[in-house]
């Protein structure tokens, strides 16, 4: 009786997701990007592709950590052969460093624009092009209307978009599927050797449509994500109860 009920509920959940535009049939189950438990927070337990993800960061240091995390995601989205666009009006990305995240930097096309308004326009154009794997846009502000426009563009083309909102001053509602905040953490020593270890971040999934937000600690190790389980994981709920 109980199992039958659960079956009905999970079926209804999938139906709701399908109606909301989350399709499972594209066979992207393979894309767990080594995210480990994070993947359970997403609808259908799969990283949503073909939609817009939003990353917030206040400081340059956090922006770099965010870029590292995004580069790791792009690595698994590009599958060694795709092409990606990086649209920005204030790019400080150092292309050769992408190699450390498994990306061939020459598969990236950088579009460096003068005005942020053009970034939005170029992003909208690029997201309509189904031949791209990923489009990354660096911008400070985006209104709900504008993010909705981008979301509509990807629904046709199934391109994944990442919006990196650096130097953030005002957080507003957007139509993006998820909202992340990545900050850097002190690295761990490798086998008690002095020096700096692998890049380590605190990954906060602040918001995800039809999923469960949470916080995790994570390393980038030997070309893939390595979630750290032994570190205390504070979930959103717990934090709420504590606060």
């Amino acid at each position: 009786m109980q199992t039958a009920k659960n079956d009905i509920i999970s079926k209804l959940q999938t139906d709701i997701l399908r109606l909301q535009g989350f399709k499972q049939e594209r066979g992207n189950n393979s894309l767990d990007a080594g995210l480990g438990t994070i993947i359970k927070s997403f609808p259908n337990s799969t990283f949503p592709v073909g939609c817009i993800h939003e990353f917030l960061s206040q400081k340059k240091e956090d922006a770099t950590a965010t870029t590292g995390f995004v580069a790791g995601l792009i690595n698994s989205l590009m599958l060694n052969s795709g092409a990606a666009l990086w649209i920005s009006s204030s790019r400080t990305l150092f292309p050769p460093a992408l190699k450390a995240f498994g990306i061939q930097p020459d598969r990236f096309i950088f579009i460096d624009l003068k005005r942020e308004r053009d970034v939005l326009w170029a992003m909208d154009e690029a997201l309509k092009c189904g031949a791209l794997s990923v489009v990354v846009g660096e911008m400070q502000n985006i209104s709900f209307m504008e993010s909705r426009r981008l979301q509509l563009a990807v629904e046709q083309s199934q391109v994944t978009g990442f919006i990196l909102r650096n130097n953030l001053n005002k957080v507003n509602t957007t139509a993006c599927v998820s909202r992340w905040n990545i900050t850097s953490l002190p690295s761990e020593e490798i086998e008690n050797l002095p020096g700096i270890g692998f890049p380590k971040w605190k990954v906060e999934l602040l918001k995800v449509r039809n999923g469960k937000p949470g916080t995790w600690n994570m390393q980038w190790m030997n070309g893939k994500f390595a979630p750290i389980y032994r570190a205390p994981v504070i979930t959103h709920l717990e934090r709420k109860q504590a606060g």
């Binding site: 579009i111 092009c129 700096i196």
Partner: protein, 499 residues
Amino acid sequence: MAKRFVSIWFRHLTTDWFTVRQPELKDVPFVLRAPSRGRMLIMASNEIAERKGAKVGMALADARAVLPELQALDYKPELIDDLLKRIAEWSIRFTPVVALDPPDGILLDVTGCSHLWGGDESYLNDIVNKFNSHGYGVSVAIADTIGVAWGVARFGKQSHVVPEDMHFNALLPLPPQALRVEPVVVDRLHKLGLRQVKQFINMPRASLRRRFGQHFMMRLNQAIGLDIEVLEPIEPIEPYQERLPCMEPISTLTGIEIALNKLLEALCFRLREDQKGLRTAIFKCYRIDGKVEQITIGTHRPSHYVKHLFKLFENKLSTIEPALGIELFVLEAPKVEDHLSQQEAMWEETGRLEDPRISELIDRIAGKVGSEAIHRYLPDEHYWPERSFKLATSLDEKPTTTWRSDKPRPLQILKIPERIEVTAPIPDYPPMLFIYKGKRHAIVKADGPERIEQEWWLQQGQHRDYYRVEDEEGSRYWLFRLGHYHDKTYQWFIHGFFA
């Protein structure tokens, strides 16, 4: 195909120019004067003055004695070159190959052109009428060689249309001046009583050469067609060029669009046949008032896809001002590259860099924001961070070397390294703390140094010792010391941020 040439001789080039600008000079005899050895010489005279005896080269005072009502204007030596060049550019409407023939003519290579006007006769008539309507008196001739066309235009008594293969006959009655030889040689020929080409053309070659020189022989051979004479076109001919002359001047956007589409289809067909694609294209519109409106597009990958190229032009079409109308459209592809079309199908569905949809997207973006905004990088064999990558020239360019990942490089880099305040304990040790933008960062962990020397063959200066450091908050930075610690002139900089 037999070559055909037209020589256009402007009888009174400079004086006609003055008459066009000052119509009241039309019916008065006037000359252009220039000072020479303390007197005024006539440099050019108009038709009336010439008929009444004011010849070029006379002293102005002598001419005034013969012709008291003679008017004189100042001669402008720089005018001729400029004027001739402008006229030659304008004449591109008759044929793509136009060459200057100083001091007072132009030469056209009209091979295969005149049939568009319905024959040589009407072709020449059109040229003469067009020039006359602009106020320039011209004498025009068409022949199989440049030499004969030149001679007939200036000295021909009968028809100025020399039919194909008849140039030898046409040359016979001409005077020796018609051969474009030096005045000294002409004088010598006259002295010998040789006043027509037919009188000496059959003489033994060896004796002609001995008496009149190599230059004379060359001119003679060129006129007969034994030597090939090459024109130097004022505008180099693009191998991929399409032209569309219009019967009626076009002044509407729809008309221009149709013309552009037609030209693109013709050009792309040729490119496809040759397995080429264009990287840049220029669309030129020749207006009836003599101005040329043009728009240029560039692509990031060779393309011969009409729809895509049309889209690129479309954004810029509104900048064309047709004014009274456009009579000739020209589409050129100055830069073409190999492009194998059958490869397109293979990449249709895969999301790769080679996908034509990506280059079309990039072209679209470049069309709006300019192609300088678009960058793609390839690895370069330099350790110096700023030089470790180079700009790719196209989307297809493959890396010649691999991207290095053995040394840590920051994900974000400052365009120009910024000065920081640093406390460092002992030489060659990483700093203990640094102050960047007024914030104090205590360093907990550090790696380094990685010394990167200047490449002295490219740039002079001090080396950099790079340290990778992590502060107590867990942020990772890339710092370097410029110069040796013991030099006292060293400086610390922050150059980047690690993830």
